[in-house]
Structure formats: C-alpha cells, structure tokens
Symmetry: C2
Subunit: 254 residues, 2 copies
DNA sequence: TAAAAAATTTAGGCGACCCAAAGTTTACCG
DNA sequence: CGGTAAACTTTGGGTCGCCTAAATTTTTTA
C-alpha cells in the first residue's frame, strides 16, 4: 500500500474529477465520477474507499462525497499541474486543446514541484517578456512550417529588431503605467509591484508564494460587482474589488 | 493484452534500457537490464518474453538479446521522446539534470507524436532564434529569481533592444555565412539550407523528416576521421565527412 | 573435468487496477 | 404505503507489473 499522504496516478485522477464536480455542483455522486472518467461504477466505489481511508474525502456508503481540507489542497495541486501543462501546450506550443488536454492528463502525475514552478513561470515569462509574446510564438510557428522557403537568421534578426522598436514606440508614454489590479480589463496581464496591507488577501497571496514580480492575468470580470477571476502562479483565484484594489501592478503591453 | 505493436509504459522502459545497453555493448543480458531498471531478475524474464512475442526483440532463453528492426525503431522513438523532454527541462527551464531525467522518465510515455514534434522544434527555435538564445534564458532566470527588486517591462524592453542591436553588429559581415556541415565545430549549430544528392544520406534524412530549415547541432567531431555526431529533429546521427559535406547550412550566431 | 559460482528461468504470491453481473439502498410517484 | 427505477455496493474474476524462493542451466576455475 502506498503511504497515507501519497496517491497513485489513478487515485489522483479520481480526486481531480471529484474536485471538478464538487466545484461545479455542491457534492459529487459516484455516477458522475464514473461518467467523467469513463470507468465502471464499481471501480469508483473502490477508489472512494481508498481516498476516504487516506483522508482525502468524506465518504460513507450511499452518501454524497465531499473533499476534506487535505483532499482539497491536494486536488488543487493536481489541477494546477494539469493547467500548467495545458497552458504550455496550447499557448506556447500551439497544440490544439483536445490533444493538449489528453497529454496533460497523462503527464500531470509526473511533474515535480520544481519543474511545475519553472514551467508556470516560463509560460508567464514568454507571455510578458518584451521579446516574447505573440510575435515570438508567431516566429515559432513560422519555424515549424518552414519547408524550403524559410527565412535566414539574418533576416529573422532584422525582423525582430523592427518588432521590438515598434513595441518600444507603442509603450513610450502611456501604455505601461502603474495601476491597481481592478483597473485591468479582461484578458489583460500585469506584473505585481506591491501588495498593500498585512492580513486578508495579502496573507493569502503570500501563502501561495505570490510576490511582487509575479504575473497576474485577469480571466473574467463581473461588471456588476466588480469581482475579478484571476490567474496567478498557476492558481485561479476570485477577488473582490476591494481586494484587487490593494494589488498594484504594472500593466503589460498587450 | 495490449495490441501487438503497442507497448505499456513499463515495457517501453525495458525496451529503452535494452537499446542503451545494446548501443554501449554489443548485446544485452538479462542481468544488465535488471540492474539498470532496478528490478528483480525474474521480472526481466517476463518482460523479455512479452517483448519477444510482440516482435520487438530477438530472444531465446539463455541467449543474448538483440533488437529487431521494429524494436530498434520503437526504441529510438522512446529515446527521442526522453531526450526531447530532457532538453526542454535542462536547456530551457534550467532544471538540473537529475531532476530532469527523473521527470522525463515518467513523462516520456505520454507524449504524442505531434507534441513531441512541437517540443523539439520549440527547443530548436529558442536556441536559434535571434531573440531567443542565452539571453532569453537569462531573462527567464531573472524572472524566476525576482523577489521585489525586479525590473519593469519598460527597462526589460530597453535591455532586449540593446542586446539585439549588439547581436546584429556581431553578425554583420562574417559570422553567418553558408558552409557545409563538416565545417562546423563541436557545439555549433546551423540551419539546413540544402541537402545535395538523391540517395544515401539525402534519403535517410528525408525519412526522418529532416528538411531545409531544420536545425542541426554538432555534438562531437572525430578529429582523425572527420566523422560527426549530430543532433537533428531530436535524432542523434553519425555522419562521415563525405556525408556531412553534402549538407549545406547557415551557421548560427553562437 | 567436475564441482563451485554465476546467471537465468520457473513457480507462486501480492497489490493495484479494471470490469460484469448480481445484490442493496435510496428516492420518488401513484 | 408499496413498487419501481435509479444509484450505489459487493462479489468474483481478470490483467499487469513487481517480488521472492527454488530449480535449472551455463560459465568459471581449480
């Protein structure tokens, strides 16, 4: 038997599925899990027993299933690994979502803490770095497609220079000012400069190792309440306007 | 039972081990495989039987083990996946070799053809692209380390511009000329412009989907015979001077 | 060349998965 | 309140990958 706080790849899959179902609805039922993972109901029962024995879920026969705090934390971790791979595959390698998701599912169990962190930061970096961004990815795609009529290094360098100069022009003056996070619109990104206050959101972010320098992306904004869904260091978080106002960012030129 | 020409993750591990042992010595013995994979000798026998039944290895009890053509091809594929991940982790993410190797071992079985291809090309691209290369990786490392005293996007952009201008100066004139592959020294890289001839090496490279535009890296040169070990599209190949002379490349500014 | 040593295979077992089929429990409706 | 459909669990059986211990074959060496 594997140790109490470790999970096999397949148990992590179950936990992940439960996490998603619990997030969408209130509690999970065995049938949902079976359908999601495309396994037999009876396999689910066995998995639930194991997860329950190890303290990841609250489970009693015929009862609904919820995550324990420990289970929730672990599930978040798995999801984070999945999303990090997914982001890398789709945003950097430009692989289509279906294929990316499939590969991410199989690979997510093997990513170490350190590699996960580097990967998340790499995607961040490519998206935010002035020489990265869309044009870098375009260059990459061009590199992939080239069959004979490719461009030489020299030409490529010249193009890059043009691109960067253009960008410098765009930025000069106004685009890259300092702003509170709640000023950012959907899909905009920024680099955290400062997090005001001590408790509340500041503490929460510190726990997730979100510090000045981290890149934040706004996933969604609620036009009524002003609440924000953001993505930072691979985590998805929801912030109120007040919380977001405490986070000072440098807008990314995007 | 899995289909005849598919292998489970663990069988791929065995095949990979056999490939490495056969490459190093002439033929493999069960004991070498057991030691390499840190499994019991008897587990090896079972695996050998399976691999033999599926036609990946030549095997008879008490006899030495060699790869069939099919096995050789599949093994090369696994190794290529492993190396591609390894390269990405070490060269791009700057993860240390031990950790990278461990993760690559676990992930290599889940990489699809397409993602593998994109990944190999991405590492190539990052290394060869004028805005990529060492300074991009440096920038990434800087981004990872930043704890408070990070640089702003504006400064970062300015730095990149400086860097690219400097590079353009370096290149102007002589560094980036056209040369036959055998002119490249160890660790140099180049972009294939043309492959002369029809049969022999030209055909071999075409089979591996190595075309003009592909990036070649010289791994080792034999000073006596002039033979080259190269890496291209994730494959490691050995070429004679004559073969290498048929491949025209544009030197990379490295 | 015969025994000792080493390498290899066989036999049997275990744990982690999975499924199909059969048996329980729950929820809902007339 | 019973009946039934849906949801859930249990049972029994199979695969895969690994292990140990014992038997067998090959190699070494004296």
């Amino acid at each position: 038997m594997t140790p109490v706080d470790e999970l096999s790849a397949s148990m992590e899959d179950y936990l992940e599925a439960i996490y998603h179902i619990v997030t969408a609805k209130q509690a999970a039922r065995a049938k949902d899990i079976a359908k999601r993972l495309d396994v037999n109901n009876s396999s689910v029962t066995g998995a639930l027993r194991t997860l329950s024995e190890k303290g990841f879920i609250n489970y009693a026969p015929y009862d609904v299933i919820t995550l324990t705090p420990k289970g929730h934390k672990h599930a978040e971790d798995v999801v984070r690994r999945h999303e990090a791979l997914m982001d890398f595959f789709t945003k950097v390698l430009c692989v289509d979502r279906t294929e990316a998701s499939e590969a991410a599912c199989k690979m997510e169990h093997a990513v170490s803490r350190n590699i996960l962190d580097r990967l998340i930061r790499f995607v961040e970096f490519i998206e935010i770095c002035p020489r990265g961004g869309e044009t870098l990815i375009q260059g990459f795609n061009n590199h992939c497609r080239q069959e004979g009529n490719f461009i030489t290094c020299q030409d490529s360098l010249a193009r890059c220079l043009e691109d960067l100069k253009q960008r410098q022009k765009d930025i000069e003056g106004d685009l890259l000012e300092t702003a509170p996070l709640n000023d950012l619109r959907q899909d905009q990104r920024g680099k955290i400069l400062k997090i005001k206050g001590k408790g509340g959101i500041s503490k929460k972010l510190a726990e997730l190792e979100v510090t000045p320098g981290s890149i934040v992306e706004v996933i969604q904004t609620d036009t009524e309440t002003g609440a924000l869904d953001i993505k930072v260091r691979g985590y998805r978080l929801s912030l109120s306007t007040e919380e977001a106002a405490k986070i000072l960012v440098e807008r990314s030129g995007n």
